[in-house]
Symmetry: D2
Subunit: 409 residues, 4 copies
């Protein structure tokens, strides 16, 4: 291991102080690839609704690592063996779990790059870093990919129905938006973690905290992640990028930063996501998108400038939410009113302005590894089975809503 | 109205500052009947499990009044008319809603006095105060009794499925126990209140806060109000009082404070709960119970002293919780092991030591006035109907658990 | 060491969760001597002003131990050696640092027992417990008495200008009173602790947190500990006990709990504070005082009943605060007006009603071991010397105020 | 007044909910000039040290308005007359008090525009808005400029030693950085406000809160606003802009957004800050600066690219802080080591790399209107006079420190 730099602490209004446990981790945090996360907002367009939600993936990654250290410390105190090497590797794996996120994360995930998921890009970047650090991250990558079969609980702490990533983002997003519905007893849940047969379990007395966690996650989806104004802003940004891409393809000048232009001019898929593309991807962040949108407010293309001005000045389109799919009539009305009001073609109205679709909220999935509860006799059950209430069964159902983005009231 | 004393503020770690809106309210707070609530804990025996839960009914009553003032201010801003007289009366009604609580409130509600509910006693005391204050509380009493038919929403704010009493106690009990599961968005809920057809409603966009409120209440029942160690301590205190009463009836000296002795020596029911009894009742608080229990640690009656020592030194009996009713065998085993261990008669074991029964947790009742949600077209629905999820339907179900208090492991 | 019981956690709204590190500590917490602290309020009469301040010495002791564990964990991470035995002993020493407090702690410290400080009683009780636990507490007692010369920093963490006791009580009293002036960055201060030459030091970058701590302490003195209404309530309670003692000495019946009567009937000083007295002392708590005061409301002695009713119904005397000593005239006026109003003798007025004196607030003492700051070159200075501001020098000055308790406005 | 839109609420994790009192204020918030503040960070470069400090001037402006509404509500309850028109005007004045801030606010205040203070620009923009709103802001502008002689306290609430701006930013910066030293009892201070002779005063019992406020402000200066790493990042950004300006003047292409180029190519002073300049200024925000710096990482000019890469990758220069002015030797050493390491000319080293100067922290100024304390007899004193302690006198002293930014250790 590298030389530790134990005194380094970073303030976090949420968890208090974030400590950096080893020198290697310190070096990774200092690396430009990780520093780049300072310029990617955790919640993308949500700040248009919740002005406090300007927090970054950088802070979330550090926070999730902090919870991970607490979780591993707790497990060690309960007699679960975690070697120093495993400890550091697991910390690195969660620290870098979001390193593959691009600008405006989820919003643009399939707009800038067509098929490649951010998890794949994360692995690419980890491999790149691993070379730079002479293989010191081998174990971290193995754990991140859930290939460390000796101790599956380490991977489960990174990605599962109740992992340190989710715990940090629920608490953090709740804190910064001011939506108290997302507050969960993070410390309590961590105190209740244990390991049975190599798998992560929660001790039975923690069952109410788990239920609270699932309900909180469900409420945060409706109130923040799928808030109707956030849906509108997301759709607007996607339309802007799609229009810009189209204009670029037919030879219009866009005046943007070179790395962004690369992704607008080329269709990047898994096949041609080569090292050059990755290098350019790593130069991108929220600033490049927003500075382009600011510029495009004055673009000669009327559609691009209209959309861009709407975003910058926060003249967001109206959104209709319904439990039933939108009727044909509803959609056609929206299209024609928009054509009339904005004086655009039907084709453009359908491509860039009127959007509709499905929102799904699935609070808890038990298939493929749900949340395991261990009773005091050491028996392990799925949480939805053992719970004394009818709520958790309900949380397994997917709730569906339908949205229609209209430009007129 | 009396002369206002507007500058008076009282610190509350939960709500910040509590203000006292009128002179009459100030005088009521200063009254010995209200000051007595300083000596009655809000959560009775819960402090045996949650050492921070030493907060009092005095503080809760002030806090609930504070939320009530906020709620009325919000409604006024929305154009709902509330006269100054109604404003003060509603504030008084909630301030005094718990004035009829005796020592260890719910724990001893049917032990000290057999049939009279604390709500009835509250009304008795309010009437007594009303005489003292020359009828200035007429309207307050009317609203408290839900007889103010012109504006039923005022009574609904005091007592209903979503009232200021519940809102304050959930937040306060959560704050002082440190159980974060009870935290709800109180300010948000209050901001979403409105009135339709004279009835209290919540605007539709507040629906998730209402759901959170109901889930939080349900979790607080399991984690705090019905916590198994609290059940044990409650049962122990009841046994102590029952034993003392029995000894008193056969002429034993108990050495307690006269007003407490009165309730131990006499069976007080609705018929003989006269003015003298009320006066003695108003002299009682938690201190009288606990000082007697301290004394009884050294009583010559072995059962009384054993039970009393157990409570004071926190040697609490074990409790078994199960989703199924306890089997005969289980109960009989507990009885015989206790007889053997404590060298007592079977009769005494059954009367004072072994207790079993049912715990019910009913998060939401829609019958007789549930929570009404108003959509933006002004239509009103019951919350369980309109909610887009399956949770609220589940919260209408009563969850049952069974307990058995044993003295041996 | 005893068998650990590592899973035991206690909720604390302030620090989150309190863990119990070893089996011996668990047994000490369960001991009736320690459980007794549940019945002694941390802030005595302050709840008459701050209704939330009902927290107990029990909770404070656990909280201070929790901070101590954090402090020792931090020091260990910085390479300071603390053996498991020292770790447990230091935790025990702080856990029991207040075990010698009697009912209403500071208020009655010199009223119930004349000359013996609570620290001496604490040591007596620790010795008693040590016998029961077969000498397992030897090292804890040594550290508590500052006799562990090998590692003086352990004792300094228990008692000094910046110890874990003060850190917990400032934070806790601030939390429960709702007086935000006392909030300090506890976690930050602990993170900055280090050891130089065996002595506790704070790293230089923590200097502002130390300054904040000293200012906060000073403000808490004026706003809470020396609040004028608290002064009045304290004086009232002392008068009540003094009057009761006097009546007892001349043969009046007081009807109180035997252990309390013992201390009223006898003058307990260092000489006759024998094992029997200690045993009786350990049976006393706040309940005994308050139940007696309740009883004495109806005592035939008019002075005792007047004083007692004043306390129970919170008719507290008026207090005058001034930067100058009270003038003779002021005092004489107060005496004569009280005589007239209450129809008592001059002697009684002076003995029980009119009180005056000096309040001192001394935020920081550097003599005999102040707060040591270590710069990055390892040099150590007193905080008042190195600070870049003039504030800390000012905090070394004792601020004096004078009070006069009057019964008339 | 415009039609009210009273139901509009905005979440604020700090104050709970922010309400918008009138329709005119709603329209101002929706205006592009105000929405622009969403893209200007409140604390500029501080996020390089405190990753949570990504909050914006938009949020601060709304928060300060919220405190202002609370303050005016409190004063009205105390009988101070504030008409509805004055109420709205004062709210507007504080809402727009920072509207004239440019990108990276204080950091670039004298770099982008040479002589014009942000307050002057604020007035320009308010006048522009006032035209658009047909003079509805006349009174607001009068109050902002402290020209409303009838009720000077309204202007004092906006700008003074204890105004709603300072109160919000201390609380907000503390909240988002996680530096607890800045927490003050905002609600308590507001509750203690009053008016005497037309001037804002604090009631005497609020004196400790005022002292806490002044100490907190002083500590926030050292720990956040003047944190040495923030000083370094600020200086780096200024050097980047200065170098870019110089290159622009000699004809280099910079590739930036047109409005920014305008300010780099022209020297904008009070004389030529015309309407066109103002319009361009209003198109600028943090994004334009940071997107340029990202671009300039690859600029052919080595100095510009070196500085830009340092900032983006957070390779910040070292900073030395001292109570004494830096010695010549110290400075010369820094210069020559930098020349050697970076291979640059002495002139460039002195211009862009080595910076030194003075930091001043002046917690309290009594000249020209300090904080007035009113005792219960209605007499008014300056806070530093009446305080019973030596601290406040100390806070009047300016504390000076000296810094030297070096590029080598």
């Amino acid at each position: 291991m590298s030389v530790p730099n134990k005194n380094k602490i970073i303030n976090d209004p949420l968890h208090g102080f974030l400590t950096i446990p080893t020198g290697l981790i310190y070096d990774l945090i200092q690396h430009p690839y990780f520093q780049r996360l300072r310029r990617i907002r955790q919640l993308g367009m949500s700040e248009w609704v919740y002005p406090g939600a300007t927090h970054t993936r950088f802070h979330h990654a550090l926070g999730a690592m902090n919870l991970m250290l607490m979780a591993m410390d707790t497990l060690r105190k309960k007699g679960i063996e975690i070697s120093d090497e495993e400890y550091q590797a697991t910390a690195i794996a969660i620290l870098l779990h979001d390193i593959g996120h691009g600008p405006y994360s989820h919003t643009l995930e399939h707009t800038l790059i067509q098929e490649v998921q951010h998890e794949e890009i994360s692995i690419n970047i980890m491999n790149k870093l691993n070379k730079e650090f002479n293989g010191e991250m081998d174990l971290a990558i193995k754990i991140f990919q859930d290939k460390y079969v000796v101790k599956p609980f380490l991977s489960q702490l990174i990605s599962g129905q109740l992992d340190m990533d989710r715990l940090d983002y629920l608490l953090r997003d709740s804190f910064y938006t001011g939506v108290s519905e997302g507050i969960v007893g993070g410390e309590r849940i961590i105190n209740m973690l244990n390991v049975s047969d190599g798998n992560l379990v929660v001790e039975e007395k923690g069952i109410y905290s788990v239920e609270k966690f699932l309900v909180a996650r469900r409420l945060m989806y409706w109130q923040v992640y799928l808030h109707k104004t956030v849906i509108a802003a997301d759709a607007l940004l996607i339309s802007i990028l799609n229009r810009a891409r189209e204009l670029a393809h037919v030879g219009h000048s866009l005046g943007s930063y070179h790395p962004l232009l690369h992704f607008l001019l080329n269709d990047i898929s898994r096949e041609n996501f080569d090292d050059e593309a990755l290098q350019l991807f790593l130069a991108l962040d929220d600033i490049d998108i927003m500075s382009s949108v600011k510029l495009w407010q004055f673009h000669e293309d009327k559609i691009l400038s209209t959309l861009s001005q709407s975003l910058i000045n926060r003249n967001l389109p109206k959104v209709l939410i319904s439990k039933e799919p939108m009727s044909e009539t509803n959609i056609e009305d929206a299209v024609y009113l928009t054509i009339e009001k904005l004086k655009i073609t039907e084709n453009d109205a359908r491509r860039y302005f009127i959007k509709y679709g499905l929102l799904e909220n699935h609070a808890y999935k038990s298939e493929g590894g749900g949340i395991r509860i261990m009773n005091k006799h050491g028996q392990v059950y799925d949480v939805a089975e053992i719970s004394d209430n009818y709520n958790l069964a309900a949380l397994k159902e997917t709730v569906k809503k339908y949205y229609l983005i209209k430009w007129v009231k």
